[in-house]
Symmetry: C2
Subunit: 277 residues, 2 copies
């Protein structure tokens, strides 16, 4: 079964806190089958950064990781630990001795780098690169994104393998990103391009947006109560003030449940008033 990731509701699961459970069975085949770029880490040093890379990739729906010449060999316990389970959910990481080997089956190569150096290659920001990668993949090409080692990034010789350069615009006074963060931002832009999510929505749970009739019924009742309680002291101002109050409640985009709550509030407040009188 292939889940249609273009359904916004399905994909729109946004997280700032750990999920209680990750469903390996539904995730595995689906994430793997989405056409996507390959991520290539070139000469990475610390296992922690490889693990963080895997986690960031899978957060964004990428799962094909290749590593050129990892300093501490492979597999790597620290990478496993830092990946928070991502490495177990992804297809096995593939290890290569050289960049040329790692990208041999790919058609379009992107190199991530801080500065374009002396090479004349198109430099794309991550958002534009994500569009470009998505279009390239749609045309049937296999794409790879190269990330360099922690200290110095990709060498000029490594960058020379690439057709295009991806460069993240950041604060020029403080722009050092670690490897996992770099992968996260590039993968995030890809995911935002590849999957649809609504810009804004108003989830109302079990309740529904109130109908105009429900809204006006409440507002008219409020207005009558206000008139009865001599809230409108100056007759000439009544219409203006009344419209402003109506506007205030309109702006809240009330649900049917909230209209009921407001009726309850009105009942409670007028009951109290009657008791006081």
């Amino acid at each position: 079964m292939v889940i249609n990731y273009s359904l916004p509701k399905l994909f729109y699961s946004a997280m700032f806190a750990p999920m209680t459970g990750t469903n390996k069975n539904t995730l595995k085949p689906d994430t793997h089958s989405i056409p996507q770029p390959v991520i290539v880490l070139v000469n990475p040093q610390m296992g922690e950064n490889i693990g963080a890379t895997a986690r960031a990739m899978l957060n964004c729906g990428l799962c094909h990781l290749r590593i050129v010449n990892p300093r501490d060999g492979w597999p790597n316990e620290r990478a496993e630990a830092m990946s928070s389970g991502a490495l177990d959910l992804m297809p096995p990481v593939q290890i290569y001795p050289t960049v040329a080997d790692a990208i041999a089956d790919c058609h379009t190569i992107y190199a991530t780098t801080a500065r374009p150096r002396d090479l004349v290659k198109p430099v794309l920001n991550p958002r534009h690169a994500a569009k470009n990668i998505t279009e390239t993949i749609k045309s049937g090409q296999k794409t790879a994104i190269l990330f360099g080692a922690e200290r110095a990034g990709l060498t000029n010789d490594e960058i020379a393998f690439a057709h295009k350069i991806i460069s993240i615009p950041l604060n020029p006074g403080f722009s050092s990103l670690n490897l996992g963060q770099s992968v996260l931002l590039v993968a995030y832009e890809w995911s935002q391009q590849a999957f649809e999510a609504p810009e804004e929505h108003l989830p109302t749970g079990k309740s529904q947006p109130a109908t105009a009739a429900e809204f006006n019924n409440f507002f008219n009742r409020l207005n009558e109560e206000l008139t009865k309680s001599r809230f409108y002291r100056v007759d000439e101002m009544k219409d203006i003030i009344s419209r402003n109050i109506k506007s205030l409640f309109q702006r809240a985009n009330l649900t049917d449940q909230e209209i009921s709550t407001l009726h309850g509030i009105l009942t409670a407040l007028t009951r109290q008033k009657n008791n006081n009188e």
Copy 2:
């Protein structure tokens, strides 16, 4: 002196590798003076995550960090170490006992959360939120973005302080982000909204794009050499093949320097041929 961050060239310093030097003198006043949202960490536990938050913030040009009730007190050595110097470059972190205190001077509050829970509030993705925040700030309002504790995120009571919710759409099968990564993605979207960077450009260093005359001069020379060396075996095909070769070189968007190089290649190859003859 206020540097104009809307100049793409100035801001377009993109990093995948550590910078060799961070200039405190030029950074400090400029980053601080840019109108920006305040980041509020609510009950954070680990100093490492506070440090990673500060680093991610400053990467993206944000520098106002407030913390509600940090578990391990403040200042925190682990936060210092993990911030890679960001905490030293930012104004002092402000500590508050409650969310209400931390946001007292702000007009519009955004809460980051995985799920909108039962509260009926507009839910924005980070990109739309970044636009919304930028517009809100332009209208003169002070804004704050709340991030919850590592384990469970913001509580419903904490979210209730917010006008709007920010939710990051991620892989529903593997969506756990750590605190620093969440802050990075939200801050990154803000920076992409606040600062301009070209989608794509072709840096050519000291050389210039070749003029049409330079290009045609080279191509005509190539074509003559090919004709002389009987490359075009079938006369009827000559025009088609010639146009295809021209197209190949056109597509490369050659610089004047590269045209010179190609002339050199042509000279070398024809000299060799002459010697062989």
